[in-house]
């Protein structure tokens, strides 16, 4: 059974394709009777407009692209959910691509999305991305782009972020206030803005509270995995016997660290306090439960789509586009891993 076309309906009814098309879209210049006839037949035949043709005519696909570093990831899957939900409300579909933290893949995928002629792109950058030409190229070709979470400050487009620096400051200050004297930091890779900002927040909190910043207490992680949490927790114990607090860039790593410290009989939080970042669901069920920064993933997804949608609409109506930067609130969630 081939899909039904306008032509088929027109021939069956003995009227023109034009009239069928207009009837289905409730144009005011079609008689009620014709509309009724057309709509009934369309219903019976289960007619659905061929999106390929509609896209070609209207030059929109009602589809957006989403590039995300990693799909199996509590925070990002919450973001995905928010994006899909909001997109669906506005009649948009979402194509998802995973960059695997690779700049090369991210570039290729952006190209792919462009040739698909998606109406816009949402992106959270790969750790490997240090050059932004691919993003600017896409925008130069009139494809709206909105960045979220892992952004590049230098790229001129709308963005949805949290204040990583402030949140990291709050976390570190909490460790200080609870009595920690020697606070380490497990940071993310060098390129991503959010790992830079979290590091800066950590450092600032120390300095503001009379601590001497000691670079040897900062460990630069790469994969941000559970295993790295294991590894660097062990490393830290070896390097610095006096550490009594760690602020860790991501919950997954923090959970790895807790796992290692538990195994070695280090008491959390009595010997060492730990704060993570992101509030993964897991963090509320491990033992001890993890103090962390809650980052609103679902809301971030919804907001990112909203900004993109606004831009798509503006461009369509030839209105000036004003880039917006929306900062979402974070919250320190205090649990058992801190005093």
């Amino acid at each position: 059974m081939k899909p039904v076309t306008l032509k088929e309906i027109a021939e069956t009814l003995g009227i023109s394709i034009t009239t069928v098309s207009k009837a289905l879209k409730d144009y005011p210049d079609v008689s009620k009777k014709t509309k009724r006839l057309v709509k009934e037949l369309a219903q019976t035949l289960n007619y659905k407009p061929n999106a390929f043709a509609v896209n070609l005519r209207t030059k929109e696909s009602k589809t957006i692209g989403l590039i995300i570093p990693e799909v199996v990831h509590h925070f990002f899957s919450s973001v995905i959910k928010g994006i899909i939900a909001q997109a669906e409300k506005k009649g948009y579909l979402v194509i998802i691509l995973q960059s695997n933290e690779s700049y090369e893949l991210e570039k290729k995928q952006l190209d792919l999305l462009f040739s698909k002629r998606v109406d816009g792109v949402l992106i959270s950058l790969a750790n490997g991305t240090g050059d932004f030409k691919h993003l600017n190229d896409l925008m130069a070709q009139e494809t709206p782009l909105v960045m979220f979470d892992k952004i590049a400050k230098i790229v001129n487009c709308s963005k949805v972020i949290i204040n990583d620096r402030k949140a990291a400051y709050t976390a570190t200050k909490y460790l200080i206030d609870s009595g920690c004297k020697r606070i380490a930091h497990f940071r993310g890779p060098l390129l991503p803005q959010n790992s830079i900002d979290r590091f800066l927040g950590y450092k600032q909190a120390l300095v503001d509270h009379g601590f001497v910043y000691d670079p040897s207490l900062v460990y630069i992680l790469d994969a941000m995995s559970f295993d790295e949490g294991n590894y660097y927790a062990a490393q830290l114990l070896k390097d610095h016997k006096d550490v009594d607090g760690i602020f860790i860039n991501t919950d997954l790593v923090a959970i790895g660290a807790i796992n290692e410290l538990n195994k070695r009989g280090v008491k959390i939080p009595d010997d060492i306090s730990i704060i993570g970042f992101s509030n993964w669901f897991m963090s509320s069920v491990i033992s001890p439960t993890l103090t962390t920064i809650d980052q609103p993933g679902y809301l971030m997804g919804k907001t990112a789509f909203k900004l993109l949608y606004k831009e798509i609409k503006k461009r369509k109506n030839n209105q000036a586009v004003v880039y917006e930067e929306v900062e979402l609130p974070t919250e320190l969630i205090i649990r058992e891993s801190t005093k």
Copy 2:
């Protein structure tokens, strides 16, 4: 900057659109020189074929649809990752929709995907789905469909599954072998085949080992959430003081149950042993770590796409399509929550 078209390249070079098109696609009947000229200019102008037009002509979109009950879910996100990875290898893009376990939504989304003219659809059914007309309708319109994990036996299409019944049998038998005398089961809703099969495996293992099947030990859950794990664990303690083992349909629920039992001072596994299902990452880091059935999500995603791809190719070449049912292996992962 408007996207570049074939026409533009043709005019610049003073040749026909036909020749440009053929040159770019390396048709043998175009001179080397012309090919070189065309390709160079296309490169310079960053020409990408307009997918809308290509789709309309070729009647394929190189895009598939994926409908999944819930995105924020360890198992399903692994499946998504597998699908995206395999699809990308074959030059396909993936549109993701979330049914939220709702039959109505699932139906609407299938319609949407059909009007988008995706080349095929991968689906894992919503808990609410008890009628399958929407699936058969889609296939009647020549859209290939492959089901995975949450399938309907009665629908005639390719499927990727695990042997839920056997896996549940293995899990329950393990509880029996480790000395449990009174084994409860937290099962999923009534409609999904996998919650039925897991229940049947549980029951069979009991019967095969000389237990009397007691329906009051089976709790029917709805949301399959952490909170339900809390709730039904408490309920179970109230109803049956003699229970010493629970086989639970999903890790997330099992983790909720462990959480509640820990809180109430029930010793796991000494007082009550627990086995979950799915091997969520979380299960290896909670305390006690959870014995569970490992379900290969990533592999399931890859396999599902492969079957779909095969069917798309066959149809394209007008070859007969043979539906396949692939059963993936599961594994009992023994951890601390059992003796």
